[in-house]
Amino acid sequence: MSSSLAIQVEELGKLYRLGEIGTGTLSHDLSRWWARVRGREDPFATVGEANDRTQKGQSDYVWSLKDVNFEVKQGEVLGIIGRNGAGKSTLLKILSKVTAPTTGRVKVKGRIASLLEVGTGFHPELTGRENIFLNGAILGMSKAEIRSKFDEIVDFSGVERYIDTPVKRYSSGMYVRLAFAVAAFLEPEILIVDEVLAVGDAEFQKKCIGRMKDVSINDGRTVLFVSHNMGAVSQLCTRGLLMKFGSVLASGPLDEVMNRYLREGTISSSEYHTLDDQAKPVQILDFTIEDANNEISSSFGHEDQIIVGFRIKDISNDIGVICSLGLQDIHERKIFTEQIDLGKGYTSHMVQLPVGLLRPNSFRLSVAIHIPNVKVIEILDSMSFEIVDRGSEFSIYGNTDNGFLFSRLGWKITNE
């Protein structure tokens, strides 16, 4: 039913200009203006390209968002995920009216409050009390509204003792607590939150997620949440929206979207081959994940052999080039990293993961070539695979998360 929609995004697009603003802007502005006067299309908009930051583009203009369409129902908690530069933040900026779209439009029902950062407008010289009022007003609350919630805000922040001290004397943790507390008591129909949970200690993060759950489930508010923290996203959201290069790649129930995110790379998820580029002296040429029969695979039983192979070229004069291999879980947390000195010339590497090390779960492998503390030459982090439970002793528990590794502790039991 369209009547229960809270947000409807139609054909949304945002064009950005790359490079420095300076020389040339005035002439671009003039020719753009001239085109508009004659009723022509913008001469620069047509050359905009899809936003893939890893590729060198032909144009100075880039579509940070292009043809984005989606709908959010009232009371829905939507998690927006995607790699860096996928357009998530641009989308949030447009939704929170910080910047205007280039094309398309967004229709909204209800008051929007956005939290792209905590503590916006906090003035270091003002006391905690004064800042609560100022920040609350910036976020759209009236003075009376803030006054009625003041005690709750102070209570939630847990900095009561310092409430009449200028916030410049606060520790960064206290600052964040106070700032989030103000935001937590906003009562808009639609709340937009961007990764603000990345700050603060674990206990406070838990409190924040609890509060946000409260807002969405009990109060029935619509929440849009952007985060790289898959744990937080999966705790909060029911639906997901996956973005890539400024477009929506998938949307639907969170589990499906999250799996898609995991598998989504620029290439097939367990195989990567590229041509030898003469312009690059150091390059990852091939990267594969294979099973015991040397066949490419992205799904393994929990006791299967997993062989990672990659071929690297180093014909540079650089000294101390290191190759490192890392494993991450679905929440982007590193499980381990190993590194070796890279030999000169063309080298092939085979790495065997210990059999029965990983528990049923999804994982991502990354290979990086770098010179420690000098530069990162190339990172390939799109390789993923999953471990499927083929009847381990834990399979009876279904989908409960029992960690990433089979620990195989040495147990010693003594009867008394």
């Binding site: 950005y16 913008d42 908009a45 205007a100 280039t102 910036i138």
Partner: protein
């Protein structure tokens, strides 16, 4: 990276959505009408304006020993300097008025203009970090600046009045007249004029920083093109029109004429200033409103 106005795409409503168009409370789109200023929104955020004013005051004088006394010291020292330099060394005419009073009157109203203009002209660049993170009607910021400068003016005006009463009682040269009743109008005109100019400058500096450079010494130069340290009558009639063309001039001149009784006044001049003020204010508001929607991309 100004991109908002780049594409104009004919918006077509699908038939099904037009049926329930009314239930949307807000539509975010690339361009809105020229006169769609969102003043109702500004009114809804009036508490914020007052809090900004308060913030300005509290933060300016925190950790100073003299605190708000600085409001008095600034104009007093400037006046004394002018008395010494322009009055005694250069011996410029003051239309027969006591030098102290003549300069203080000019400085009080001029400072109001200059300070409002300088601080509104950096609204976008100085608040980019806030504007880039959260939406509130951007007009609240320049409005709050005008208001806090109005309070500052009020304090300095009180200082001027103290001296004025002293000279009124002790000397015979000061002859105030009925035009004193115009003072509120003059203050409002001055505030709106500086607001309008400030908004134009702040909108343009988001993209072309050169204007910020121009403004800092431009304001200083403008003071000499305004009868602040000299009376309009001291110029030969041949060049007076040059000074009168500056809309600030007649406001300063009228202010002094009303309180001191010496100077030039004409309804024509004041009318011209009022007209220019309205024009500049209108252009300023429209330009400001246009820029605010996407300035975060260019700042």
């Amino acid at each position: 990276m100004d991109t908002t106005n780049v594409l104009t795409k004919p918006e077509q409503l699908s038939t099904e959505s037009s049926a329930q168009e009314d239930s949307w409370t807000e539509v975010i789109q690339p361009r809105t009408g020229l006169l769609d200023l969102g003043l109702a929104d500004v009114w809804r955020y009036r508490d914020l304006v007052m809090l900004f004013v308060r913030r300005d005051f509290v933060s300016t004088y925190k950790q100073t020993i003299l605190g708000p006394i600085w409001f008095f010291i600034q104009p007093l020292l400037t006046t004394l300097t002018y008395v010494v330099i322009f009055g005694n060394i250069a011996q410029l005419s003051t239309d027969g008025m006591p030098q102290l009073l003549f300069y203080m009157g000019g400085i009080t109203i001029w400072n109001y203009f200059a300070q409002t203009l300088t601080s509104t002209s950096t609204v976008f660049t100085a608040n980019a970090h806030i504007f880039g993170k959260v939406y509130f009607p951007r007009l609240t910021m320049p409005l709050s600046i005008v208001l806090s400068n109005l309070v500052r003016f009020g304090i300095q005006f009180a200082l001027f009045l103290m001296f004025w009463v002293y000279f009124l009682v002790t000397t015979e040269v000061v002859r105030p007249n009925a035009f004193i009743l115009l003072t509120p109008l003059l203050v409002v005109l001055m505030g709106l004029l500086s607001l309008g100019l400030g908004m134009i400058f702040s909108s343009l500096t988001t993209k072309y920083r050169d204007l910020a450079m121009l403004l800092t010494f431009g304001v200083q130069l403008l003071m000499y093109a305004t009868p602040v340290i000299y009376p309009l009558s001291s110029l030969s009639p041949k060049y007076q029109w040059l000074i009168i063309a500056n809309p600030v001039s007649s406001i300063v001149e009228t202010f002094r004429y009303a309180f001191l009784g010496a100077g030039t006044f004409s309804w024509g001049m004041l009318g011209y200033s009022a007209l220019m003020t309205l024009l500049i204010l209108m252009v300023g508001t429209i330009v400001f409103n246009k820029v605010q929607k996407s300035f975060t991309d260019t700042v």
